[in-house]
């Protein structure tokens, strides 16, 4: 089990609210939203792009830096054009000084099957 949990010190996180961390599963984007922490795959599901280089928008959204598509951070749901496929999310446990990122578990708010982009864009 220990290999499937990644421990990240909060002091290693970027002050801007999004950090990119390496994991056996590939790069992961770690977000801080008003003191709560979330993690998703770093690569955009639309085209090659690193979401940790994007910007956090109102409504807990991450905007992709390449095409401006958006995902809902807590659930991974694809929200804005051209994103259609949801992001893989990871459960994050806040221990105070560090974060435990469970690579085999999804976040509690993860979108259920079939709930993808519904904005028709």
């Amino acid at each position: 089990m220990t290999q499937s949990v990644l421990e990240v010190g909060k002091s290693e996180l970027a002050p801007e609210g999004i950090s990119r961390v390496d994991s056996p599963e590939g790069f992961i984007a770690v977000y801080e939203l008003d003191g709560a922490y979330y993690a998703t795959q770093d690569g955009c599901t639309h085209a090659r792009a690193s979401l940790s280089e994007g910007e956090i928008l109102e409504g807990e959204l991450i905007e992709c830096p390449v095409h401006g598509g958006t995902f809902h951070i807590p659930s991974g749901r694809a929200v804005g054009f051209p994103c259609k496929t949801p992001l893989r999310t990871y459960e994050v446990v806040d221990t105070g000084r560090t974060l435990l990122i469970h690579l085999e578990r999804q976040a509690a708010a993860t979108a259920s099957d079939g709930e993808t982009n519904t904005n028709g864009a």
Partner: protein
Amino acid sequence: MNGRKGIDPQTSCREDVALESLMDLDKGRMSRLVFQHPGLYERELERIFARCWLFVAHESQIPKAGDYVTTYMGQDNVIIVRQKDGGIKGFLNSCPHRGNKVCFADAGNARQFICNYHGWSFAIDGRLKGMHASEAFDSTGFDFEGHGLHPVARIDSYRGLVFATLDDRAPDLADYLGDMRYYLDAVFDMDDEGTEFVGGCVKSVIRCNWKLAAENFVGDALHAGWTHDSGARAMVGEGVDDLHKSPERSYQVNFNGHGWEFNQDIIGNCASLGDKELVKYLYAMQPRVAERLDDFRSRMIGSISSCTIFPNTSFLAGQNTFRTWHPRGPQEIELHVWTFVNKSAPPEIKERWRKGSMLTFSPSGVFEMDDGENWEYATRTNDGYVTRRQDLYIGLGRHTRVHDTSLPGNVYQGQVNEANQRAFYQRWLDLMGAAVWSDVPRRDVPTEAAV
């Protein structure tokens, strides 16, 4: 040229034109083909607009990283964008994939420019960040580095005015502006804060050759008393002064085709806006400018005057209109106009100038309409097959050069003159005849006083 008819009457618009046959400026004559010939226009795009330093933005339009404006360099549409390090870059506004425009707005702030066609996405530094269906490109070994937006060759600014050139062999901007910098300071460096643009860009189309507009602003004080008589009466209740009767109070100066005709009356242009508060503001500024620069230039800050920075950017001190005449073929221009003000001026003064310049030099402005009609007919008459073969006169003030002066540039006595227009066309001819920058005759060399 031989005698009065200098142009080979057999010359047709489909044939090449011998450049040397187009002008005899010492005799004050020039050909109308300069305003009409499609082949000459193509050559202008190559040798004037793809080569000279062209005005592309005012620093105040793009203060923050990602702020951009789009404009033209000749007929090449470009994006001018502020970088994260505070620098400014410029790019052709065209996707290197299938050529579509990547930015459709005139101005704004962007984190990237995304092409509508296939989703190619470019960073504000022009780099290709990615595209729709990137996996398909990855699998064909696509070279991302080699497919960014095409950059302008060089970009630089003087007193807040940003210029770019598409030719990496162009001289430095300081050298290009040369002695005109000395005079530009009278308007763009009145105090430590300099100028800014207020309001947006007002655009219009005039069916005239771009040079008729540029030559008007480079030196045509003559037309004011006739063309603008009714406009002046409408704005301030009286006509324009007889400028030609007191040449001792006014000048023309030029440097490598740039030119400024001006009076020493401090506020003449400004007074035409009919707003006494603006005249008061300039009178209050004048002693401070005299102290900062000198008395001579302090008398130019809003005087009866006009200026063109070669080839196609012009402004009027005092009326505070700033404009670029973008060519759209030999018989049409797209005119982009802004209002500039001193950054340090009180807000209500800035507002008065914005309104004043719109009343006079917007598409519905009283003076702009006067000019536009003249330039349209001066262009359109040359559709006449025989008409276009008749020379034009450009010889006014051929013996007015001031030699014993410490003023920089080429100085002429009396603003009612065509010395600047001749210098403008001499520069045009020099550039049109030179295949590369190093072949352009170096007629005017910057003097110490201008630096």
